[in-house]
Amino acid sequence: MHAEGVSKKFNRRNVLRDISFALAPGDSLAVTGKNGSGKSTLVKILAGVLSPTSGRVVYEASGSRLSSDEIRPLIGFVSPYLQLYDEFTAVEILDIIARIRSSGAHESARRRMLMEQFNLWDRKDDIVRTYSSGMKQRLKYVVALEHSPSILLLDEPTSNLDEDGINAVRKVVSEYGKSGVLVVATNDAVEAAWCSRQLKVGS
């Protein structure tokens, strides 16, 4: 995966200017910068939910460029901007998302493992609207990880999480640090230290 000269403007104001980097499996990148420096914007562009004003993000697998439809199942994304359909229960949401992804049979073993890891298994049949913000954040991790993505994009990974939650995230992060591609956007020096490389955005 590599980004080539990615820029984004809002109202012709440069938010991101000419950002380039390349990441291979096993690489991890921490995106740091002040509030409003464009960390979240960059992560959204990497996730493919925002298009850059100029430049491009290219994903390659065994030498050939992947289309946006091929990239989608490879990405797991957690962000405070991400909202879930909160009129459903956790299990219903996971079912709905798995069906829309049509990622085949719902891997109930993996789901159970993830939900236990994030301490949600007991509350799996509760409507998500009744969840606390920390529990919603945990559920986002389950949603992001259930389809076994090879690229994990985390924006403010530990917001709203308690100690147990943070430990669960660290475990996931260390797994991805070895085999997958990991990008973390954060202000926290501890979280930034999870990654092997750092990129500072904004002036």
């Binding site: 809002f10 109202n11 012709r12 298009s51 004003t53 100029s54």
Partner: protein
């Protein structure tokens, strides 16, 4: 551009003078006499103003659509600028065409508005332009405003063929060429009721109004770019 500017002024002035001054006679002998078209008489002179403005309205709309499409492709704000300018001019010509048409309708068909298919079409075009500008004023982010309004212009453009080509032939109407037209001869052009000199003057008017459009377009683009530059400079000073 000077050529376009003075050309449009000269041609339109010529059309105004010639279109109004040339007398109508039953059997025209020279180039300086118009034939009498039954049912239209003196009112036929409006063809030099009404039809070219209506034509320019449609042209401006197409130009706006094309630039909107190019904006979506390239995300270059300059194309959005051009698209809006053309839409603004199209709106102006649309009002002119509606007013000249309504006046013509009053004296030919008895009332200003008859919901003839072509009147309906131009009314819809007015609504589309109105909706386009209301959409633009509702969106604050420039990039979003540009792409949403470009998409809207194209979607609206998709319906234009329906009311230009299909509706006039489906419904009874009063315009020449519509279903139920008593002469049955199709639009004035094909029926051969327009004499040679009228046709020449008509084409002169058409070219004149198109040049006027091009000139105004260039003028507005220059103004917009200057304003942009000024805004950028202020931005830097802040």
């Amino acid at each position: 551009m000077t050529f376009v500017k003075y050309g449009s002024i000269a041609l339109i002035s010529f059309v105004i003078v010639a279109g109004i001054a040339i007398p109508l006679t039953q059997s025209p002998q020279s180039w300086l006499e118009f034939p009498v078209i039954p049912g239209l008489e003196e009112k036929a002179r409006n063809i030099f103003f009404h039809v070219p403005t209506a034509w320019t309205t449609v042209l401006a709309f197409l130009v706006s659509m094309v630039y909107g499409f190019r904006y979506l492709r390239t995300k270059n704000p300059d194309y959005d600028q051009k698209s809006v300018i053309s839409a603004g001019l199209g709106f102006m010509f649309c009002i002119l065409a509606t007013v000249t048409g309504a006046l013509w309708a009053k004296f030919n068909w008895g009332s200003y508005w008859n919901w003839d298919p072509r009147q309906t079409s131009i009314f819809i075009l007015l609504l589309i332009y109105g909706a386009y500008f209301s959409l633009r004023s509702a969106v604050e982010l420039e990039e979003k405003r540009a792409s949403l309004s470009a998409v809207y212009a194209i979607v609206a453009g998709l319906t234009v063929p329906f009311f230009i080509f299909i509706m006039p032939r489906m419904m009874t109407g009063l315009h020449p060429g519509a279903q139920g037209d008593s002469s049955g001869g199709g639009p004035l052009f094909q029926s051969g009721m327009m004499a040679g000199n009228m046709r020449v003057l008509f084409y002169v008017a058409l070219v004149g109004f198109n040049l006027l459009y091009v000139w105004l377009f260039a003028l507005r683009l220059r103004i917009a770019r200057l304003e942009d530059r000024q805004r950028l400079r202020q931005h830097r000073e802040d």
